[in-house]
Amino acid sequence: MNPKLKVLAVGIGIIMLIVIGGYLKETQQNNKSINNSLSPFFPVQSKPSEFSMTALLKGELVLDENGCIRVKHGNDNYLLVWPYGFSLRTEGGAIQIVDSTGKPVARVGDIIEAGGGECVKPCRNIAKYSAQLPSERCSGPYWIVGQVIKRD
């Protein structure tokens, strides 16, 4: 074989190994990101506020297939935008919503009553409420939670 062709073949082989290796690595990373995406998405409001809307949303707190925490009302399936300082905690397999003082206020599966109001559609200003929104993974409509006033 022509020495020049040999060098070319080895070079192509190396490039192919690099490309295939990179592809495999990327695939593994993608799998990892898919796994991560199954963890609940928990948007919180960017700022603390003592002023809030006073509509009342009642319904079951549901974790949908995209990991979005929602409450359904009529034809709307609201993505809840939680008050500043709220967080998620998993305890004994249950996903809990915890307020800014660390007190659990609701769990996924609970029937809750959430004070607040909807970000009126098309809600172009949702980023004003939460830096995590808009999100490709969890779309609106959005319910801006003022207070969770009761859970069963």
């Binding site: 506020s49 809307m53 509509a55």
Partner: protein, 394 residues
């Protein structure tokens, strides 16, 4: 490669896009994304009819047209053939037909009308009845007048198919009704029949401000238009657009949020919209006969509100230039009310009325937590925001 793509691939792609756009276009006209027709679309009624009667949608739409023509024929026969016309009605199954009744010479009488309404020629069926519609109407008026003198509550109608007047009497009162007729020496004509019913018709329920909706409270009764008015009730714009009262849907009309506004309104089919508000938790109402715009509301003024969660509460205006941060680009026109003793507003109260005596002041928008303060939008923004007027008379 490029040339073969241009030669074969591009036309195929264009064909796919064309077919897709044609079907996509059809979909947006008649159906939503789930494939069911949009309820605002007239095709929805046709689909419902088709489903009920087992015909296709084109036939359903054709029959809708025939219904309109039958209505014109009905009006014309009533006016011009009063002596013999005994009413008409439409039958949808097993065949679509328009049945027209006369007391005599029906086949002859109908001929010139079918020339005028040729679309009906193949679906009209002429029958003979004993009493004309005009005579039935006279009998009904006469009987109702007599029965009213008895002091007995009855409903009444004309059953055109059976060619008779029907008097609907509550089952529990049938014997009492017959006794009363006998005592007065009254007898009913042959064309009048007493029909016992479980319950007589009741006046339509009313709807107004201060009532509990799905997620909020109704604000004030409003109307749109001057000659042909549409009436409804308001609530806050940040409440979901799907609202119901007592399990009945209240169709959403429009909303406005941002700046000085946080308001939406809904019509209320089946309800009588009145210029009232509920102001107490036992259901007590008061009439709204005046409205006070923001310019005329004064700091320190005592105002009250009603909401489905905290019911009747009152406080004093502390700020009429408030700009709540939850409103997009808020204008400093919202009104903040304070109380040292009472938590004025809680979730569920949004949209509810603010008032004093019989004057409307505004509708609830939000609250301040922790604390007792409430925020409302002044009543004049209902009108400027929605293009409606707040009802101050029935």
């Amino acid at each position: 490669m490029r040339s073969s793509w241009m030669k074969f691939g591009l036309p195929v792609l264009l064909a796919v896009l064309l077919v897709g756009s044609v079907f996509g276009g059809m979909n947006t006209q008649g159906n939503n994304s789930s494939g069911t027709p949009d309820k605002k679309d007239p095709i929805y009624d046709a689909q419902a009819y088709a489903s009920d009667t087992g015909v296709n949608i084109n036939e359903a739409l054709l029959r809708f047209q025939l219904q309109n023509i039958a209505g014109e024929l009905d009006a014309e026969l009533t006016a011009k053939e009063a002596k013999t016309f005994a009413g008409l009605w439409i039958e949808h199954t097993p065949e679509f037909r328009v049945v027209v009744q006369f007391t005599r010479n029906g086949e002859e009488t109908i001929k010139p009308y079918l020339k005028r309404y040729p679309e009906l020629a193949s679906v009209v069926e002429v029958r003979t009845a004993r009493t004309s519609l005009a005579d039935l109407q006279r009998a009904q008026a006469s009987v109702l007048s007599s029965v009213r003198a008895l002091g007995m509550p009855v409903d009444s109608g004309i059953n055109v198919r059976e060619n008779r007047v029907e008097l609907y009497v509550a089952k529990a009162g049938v014997n009492q009704f017959k006794d009363a007729l006998q005592r007065k020496g009254l007898s009913l004509p042959d064309s009048v029949m007493v029909v016992p019913v479980e319950k007589l018709a009741e006046p339509a329920a009313s709807i107004y401000g201060g009532l509990p909706l799905s997620t909020c409270t109704s604000g004030f009764s409003v109307k749109k238009g001057w000659i042909f008015t549409t009436k409804g009730i308001t609530t806050a714009a940040h409440c979901p657009n799907s609202q119901s009262y007592s399990g009945n849907d209240l169709p959403f009309q429009s909303e406005r949020i941002g700046g000085s506004y946080d308001i939406q309104w809904h019509t209320a089919p089946g309800y009588t919209v009145t210029n009232k508000i509920q102001w107490w938790s036992d259901g007590s109402t008061r009439d709204i006969t005046a409205k006070k715009s923001r310019n005329n509301q004064v700091i320190g003024e005592y105002v009250c509100k009603y909401g489905m969660t905290t019911h009747y509460t009152c406080g004093t205006i502390v700020d009429k230039n408030f700009a709540p941060n939850y409103i997009e680009d808020p204008s400093p026109t919202f009104i903040r009310v304070s109380s040292t003793t009472t938590d004025l507003v809680e979730p569920g109260d949004s949209g509810g009325p603010w008032f004093l005596l019989n004057t409307a002041y505004g509708t609830t928008s939000g609250h301040i937590e922790p604390g007792n303060d409430a925020i409302y939008m002044a009543v004049n923004y209902i009108e400027s925001g929605l293009g409606v007027s707040v009802m101050t008379s029935p």
